[in-house]
């Protein structure tokens, strides 16, 4: 494990989350509707940021599995707000030149005649910069 102090401080600054408040109960991951899809789960995001182990998270597809449903935020007994950590790491990943996770040429394959504008707007906001 590599302790990246700079990235750790960046994630904490962007998210406003204090990961050392976590008491490791795992309730965030237990309630996460994307749990099965994730390589690193919400409680691991919090723990790995606390340890400064950021690179594996930056390179993980788990960043794009979070639904931003805020279940982990509301159900955390310590007010840690894990979704904000996931968001900060995802932004750090996609703010890099050429790192957009969704591009316009992928859209024709995604849409059908009922696709609401909201779907594309939300996905672009989450997956691109």
């Amino acid at each position: 494990m590599h302790n990246n102090k700079y990235l750790q401080e960046e994630i904490i600054r962007i998210s406003g989350v204090n990961p050392s408040k976590c008491m490791r109960c795992g309730k965030c991951s237990a309630t996460c509707p994307a749990y099965d899809e994730m390589e690193y789960h919400p409680h691991q995001f919090v723990n790995m940021v606390e340890c400064g182990d950021i690179e594996p998270l930056l390179n993980s597809k788990s960043l794009y599995k979070c639904l931003s449903c805020f279940a982990c935020i509301d159900r955390c007994p310590r007010g840690v707000q894990p979704a904000k950590v996931v968001e900060a790491v995802r932004l750090t990943a996609i703010r890099k030149q050429g790192a957009n996770h969704l591009t316009a040429d992928m859209v024709p394959e995604i849409v059908d005649e009922d696709t609401p504008q909201q779907l594309l707007v939300s996905a672009f906001r989450k997956y691109t910069k």
Binding site: K65, C69, Q118, L119, A123
Partner: protein, 263 residues
């Protein structure tokens, strides 16, 4: 009563029913929805990052516009409501963020979260009143078993949304009862349908949506109502075999104004 109204991108396109029936029903209840001039898309999802400013400006502009007219700001779409309410909360509580926004928009004057934001359901409950609504019902929906689907965006994060108990909400069930129907209460009514994940992982959206539909049906639901175009899309696309309709359509039906419209 006049209120400022933020429709949002989908309500002018794929979710025209949600918008049109909102207008018609409000009219029948004595509320005029005054659409914000030149409103811009809210972005669909709120970015929780402290250093994101530009993505939140369209919400601030809408809030400021309503504030200048001294009107509450009403939204119908769950997503718009979530984004605008969270942005307003950030303007009220995060002075560093508010300062950045106000510097950016300096030419238009300052804004610090003064506007009151209401979801249309909150407007019905808190400004119109469910008792008044009950009196205005002309087509009672008696005997219909209807399940409210809240999804994630209406209630969370509760510290900001302050709409209802986030784990045991009643605002939509009370709405259903006010229209004379039976409210079906089921466990997964506030779980996420998958939202925008249907772009990244359609099977994940399918799994989430299916479990919600099955749960509602097992509790006896004959119909599901929602305030969110993306929830409706995900539930319908992933095999809902009972009708999934916007709550405003149900409202318009009960108020007897549905037939006047050509949605």
């Amino acid at each position: 009563m006049k209120v400022s109204y933020f429709p949002g991108c989908t309500l002018k396109n794929k979710a025209k029913d949600l918008d049109l029936y909102a207008y018609k029903s409000a009219e029948a209840l004595g509320v005029t929805l005054e659409e914000i001039e030149n409103w811009q898309c809210c972005g669909g999802v709120f970015t929780t990052a402290n250093d994101e400013v530009a993505t939140k400006l369209s919400s601030v502009r809408a809030l400021k516009y309503a504030g200048e007219k001294e009107q509450p700001l009403v939204t119908v779409c769950s997503a718009c409501h979530n984004v605008i309410k969270q942005t307003n909360y950030a303007m009220q509580t995060n002075s560093q963020f508010a300062d950045k926004v106000n510097r950016y928009m300096a030419a238009d004057g300052t804004y610090n979260g003064e506007t009151q934001v209401y979801h249309y359901l909150e407007m019905l409950r808190d400004l119109v009143g469910y008792d008044t609504l009950k009196e205005k019902v002309v087509n009672t929906l008696k005997g219909k078993k209807i399940a409210a689907y809240y999804g994630c965006l209406l209630l969370r994060p509760n510290s900001v949304m302050r709409m209802d108990d986030p784990e045991n909400p009643t605002i939509m069930e009370d709405f259903i009862r006010a229209l004379g129907a039976d409210a079906v209460v089921y466990a997964k009514r506030n779980e996420c349908c998958g939202g925008y994940i249907s772009v990244e992982s359609p099977e994940s959206a399918k799994r989430n949506s299916n479990s919600i539909i099955e749960n509602a049906k097992a509790a006896g639901a004959e119909m599901i109502i929602t305030a969110c175009p993306l929830c409706k899309y995900n539930l319908v696309k992933n095999g809902a075999d009972i009708p999934v309709v916007y709550f405003t359509e149900l409202l318009a039906e009960a108020l007897g104004v549905k037939e006047d419209t050509n949605a």
